[in-house]
């Protein structure tokens, strides 16, 4: 699980172009949206694509992402339980 969390942090920083944020600065329980990393609605869509592309998880309702993308910890657990690749 720790490897998955690290992988998620690296992918988020790289794919969402978070130039001013280092992987090691992201805590497993940091809020990804709002006051945490400050991700926006386009980032949420990018995360949905990332779930599909990297882990074979298709979210048909973008609203599902609201709960899944709460933090790295929550996201990693969801991926661990639902991944198809």
């Amino acid at each position: 699980m720790d490897d998955l969390k690290q992988e998620l942090k690296e992918n988020i920083v790289e794919q969402l172009n978070l130039e001013d944020i280092a992987v090691e600065d992201i805590d497993d329980n940091d809020m990804l949206f709002g006051d945490g990393l400050g991700l926006d609605s386009i980032d949420a869509l990018e995360l949905i694509v990332m779930l599909d592309k990297n882990y074979g998880i298709k979210l048909t309702d973008p609203k599902e992402g609201r709960a899944i993308f709460e933090s790295i910890d929550v996201m990693a657990k969801y991926i661990f339980e639902n991944r198809t690749k």
């Binding site: 969402l16 172009n17 978070l18 130039e19 001013d20 400050g38 386009i42 980032d43 869509l45 990018e46 694509v49 599909d52 592309k53």
Partner: protein, 205 residues
């Protein structure tokens, strides 16, 4: 034809150089556009994390506008009555190609929303408007080449009809390795008369 308006400042970005009012304010030897524009952005100490998420055309337009508008002492907490009139030849072709590449292969079909949102040239106007709270008129024209006459006429019309107090206008072109930005600010006061001859002179600076 002369007008009663004036060009108060202008910015050129081309050939690895950023110039403000004809003076070089940043230069490096990096031939890669994205590396160059990132280094230039960092050198100006503009704290705006969204810059890194923009496509190449928006980065070019944003930086040129930022260099100009920083000089204007605008109140960034209030709405600023500045219209934007931009133009180019390549539209958003650079980002269009990236998007096309991501949907080319049906077996590897993962279009990026963050790329797709930039598949229109006028999105760069939105980026500038958000940063500087500009809610006034804006237009983006596509021409075969820099069209000083059209920019002159359109800008005069906006000012003459009191649609705006100032106009940020010019040319932001990006296609592959080729990039060029020339933006200038037209107002009711200033030293350089706003006319076609002066626009062309500053464009060729």
């Amino acid at each position: 034809m002369n007008s009663k308006y004036h060009i108060t400042s202008f910015c050129n970005i081309k050939n690895n150089t950023v110039s403000l009012n004809g003076s070089v304010i940043y230069n490096d030897e990096n031939n890669d556009f994205l590396e160059f524009i990132k280094a230039a952005y960092k050198s100006f100490e503009t704290d705006y994390a969204k810059f890194f998420k923009m496509d190449a055309l928006s980065k070019l337009a944003f930086l040129a506008a930022d260099v100009l508008l920083k000089n204007e002492d605008l109140n960034q907490e209030e709405e600023n009555n500045i219209a934007i009139v931009f133009s180019n030849k390549a539209s958003s072709i650079d980002t269009d190609r990236k998007h096309q590449k991501s949907i080319q292969d049906k077996e590897d079909y993962f279009p990026s929303p963050a790329v797709f949102v930039y598949t229109l040239p006028n999105i760069c106007i939105g980026e500038i408007s958000i940063k500087y709270k500009l809610f006034s008129e804006n237009s983006f024209f596509i021409f075969d080449a820099f069209n000083a006459q059209h920019l002159f006429d359109y800008t005069n019309s906006l000012l003459a009809t009191d649609k705006t107090e100032k106009v940020l206008c010019g040319w932001v072109e990006l296609d592959g390795d080729h990039y060029e930005a020339f933006l200038y600010l037209v107002t009711k006061k200033g030293l350089t008369t706003h006319n076609k001859q002066n626009i062309l002179k500053l464009y060729n600076t």
